[in-house]
Symmetry: C4
């Protein structure tokens, strides 16, 4: 029997649907292979988030096998999917939700171009306007951190707090992205790979032209406040 109110049950069901469907975007955009990568979404109104099970094929992901966790990353008992193990990155997602209240979604991949920058521990310089729009400047590198304790989550939070970027390249590991909701975090994961690739290709051919800082500021401001069908607002 559920410990949640009917309203929260509805919110969980919607988050299961959304998180399950968004995993298909990782595949479609070439960000993951085999069972790698994971998307999570915060359940609105509850101290809980939904994440994918560990080591399960993308073809087999369904809303009902998504897993509901509390903000310590513990599986909530007696919920659908609670008989399975959640993603091995669950502790990192939980840490982010505990420490960044405005974050509604987290994504992690090993997408190849972004991970290539991470293997050198090198931030991606902001030399294309799409990157200024989306990330407001360079994409930073986070520390080398071993999976299994809080060190990955702490590295994400420390790097992104006060930073315009919604993406961090964890050293020798790969990108983590955050967003207002799970869809926004997936968008950031798609865009970080796109700019990681374009800037990689650009630099292979010679010297990059910088974008003046005031132009970066202006592009970021416009995109956060004007672009799209309604002002969606930058993350605070």
């Amino acid at each position: 029997m559920s410990a949640f109110s009917p309203e929260i049950e509805v919110a969980i069901a919607r988050t299961r649907d959304e998180v399950s469907a968004l995993h298909a975007e990782l595949v479609r955009n070439g960000l993951v292979v085999w069972t790698g990568g994971n998307v999570s979404g915060r359940v609105p109104g509850a101290d809980a988030f939904v994440i994918k099970p560990s080591g399960v094929s993308y073809d087999e992901l369904r809303p009902e096998n998504m897993i509901v966790c509390d903000l310590e990353g513990r599986v909530i008992p007696d919920t659908p999917g609670s008989d399975r193990e959640p993603s091995s990155d669950t502790a990192a997602h939980a840490y982010v939700y505990r420490h960044m209240e405005h974050v509604g979604g987290v994504v992690h991949t090993h997408s190849p171009y972004a991970t290539a920058w991470a293997a050198r521990g090198e931030a991606i310089p902001c030399v294309i306007t799409a990157m200024a729009d989306e990330f407001g400047g360079e994409i930073p590198v986070g520390p080398f951190a071993i999976i299994g304790d809080d060190s990955i989550g702490r590295g994400i939070v420390e790097t992104l707090t006060g930073h315009r970027s919604r993406a961090v390249l964890m050293q020798n590991h790969g990108p983590f992205t955050i967003g207002r909701n799970a869809r926004d975090a997936v968008k950031a994961a798609v865009m970080v790979e796109d700019v990681a690739r374009t800037v990689h290709l650009a630099r292979q051919g010679g010297a990059l032209l910088p974008i003046p800082q005031d132009a970066i500021d202006s592009l970021f401001d416009r995109y956060q406040n004007v672009y799209g069908q309604a002002a969606q607002g930058a993350m605070p």
Copy 2:
């Protein structure tokens, strides 16, 4: 109630269908991710063009949510889709239609190889015959320009006026292409990425062999006048 004659209404409906369908070619050819990129087409016989809405997923694009604008880039009221915002690049498209009468279609993408050349501000040299055929020489670079006023449109028009190329690489931004109609501009967007990739790969391996200017001229002339099922004519 519509301000257009029945003939123009038919032309608008056809342009909606065409512009909506052509966006699928951007996806199919790997030129765009997420909601990036846009195609527009001039409405034959009217001072108007059709363009995609801003920030809408490619899966959701339909003829009825395409947006009709006048040549100043203002949404024409009381037409289907007029409750939505048009692409954030609408001002640039409008500028091109106002100043280049022979242009019937405009396309903009951030396709990765073409944008990589743009991030270095470097024109693509004409070293493959397919490029001589299609573009008649190098693909030029346009100025760095901030979105939101006429500077992008002006940069496109100034760079392409009197130039054989139907594509310009806007510095730090990405390619814009023009064409006799929307399909022709999409073809140019596909081809500019193809040649940007091939010439990038070629130069990674060593020195490029130039094509003599008279051979470029001869290839361009033949392609514009002979290729295909009927002489389609180069743009004047």
Copy 3:
């Protein structure tokens, strides 16, 4: 009314089906964009070959709009498709069929990695066993030749006559491949891009290890005579 015997009519119909279907392999293997590239197949028992129409979308290719040409590259009148223009590379295909009797299929693409080698005028060295199997050594470069007369066809024939390779990289242009039949030539087009890519990537990372000539000879001999479901025989 047809000038062909019933047996030849059947052979033409089969070649139309085969050549039409094989164009899908060019798309599936990423060898072509838009309307680029072409496949032809010799009609067994007749001085004729089947080739694709010029400038027609891959989605619209059907057996009935394939075009039947004589060995001078002239469209045979009063055959289905004869109201359209054949591929602009038809003269080159015809030249090959006239001068290389054992050739039953010809393919041309601008596949990106193979064309990159062609833009440097550089043969692909044989450093992987799959290349020794399939091509028996390096993939040679042919001369720079302008489309529209016999110079492309002559360059193909002169380069490949007496050479183990079924592929030639025409300088600044792209690969042409030949085969026992159209399917075999398509296979060679797929394989030449595959090895062009792998050897390009290999050399980007450092010095290549050569394969000893006697090992190349042994691999080529085995593959031509043993591989597959029946000894298919190398081209003489």
Copy 4:
């Protein structure tokens, strides 16, 4: 009439299904072109394995045309598919099954990035955590070996015996991978190409950051024992 017990017949049928279906993963993950690449799986409880036929299109692979071989690599007579030739790499697979009892699956491809490392005879250094997880360190190079005798199989076994990696890059040839079963070997083939690509891209951009050996050990240990829905156990 079959020489196998009913239990073994069931095991063969299951292995046929599995091996046939897994070939689709090679295509889906971009590891193979045309008829290249092969997957085999050991039949539990029997001195036999199932492998794909030689030179047959991926579209035509079906459980019933998979081929059953003994551990010397000889086709077992009077079994479905026994009228066809098995993969030309069958001797190498057989050698592995004879000499590595814990191996239940073998895969071979010419995937482009992994083969590029093989063409330089260079091991892939362990600079990303996904590689430490999956392979426990660098991916080693095996000797140059000519197809047709035991030298490929011997090179695989000698390189991987006592090594954490389930993948070996056979010099100038391409990757071979092993696994607890055919699916596990396919996973290794997918992952080796993924890390070969990421580390290639990383090094194109500058110096790589090493991962400390104790961190590699810790990641490998965790992944082999904790990851996934049940402890699957590393190969001994």
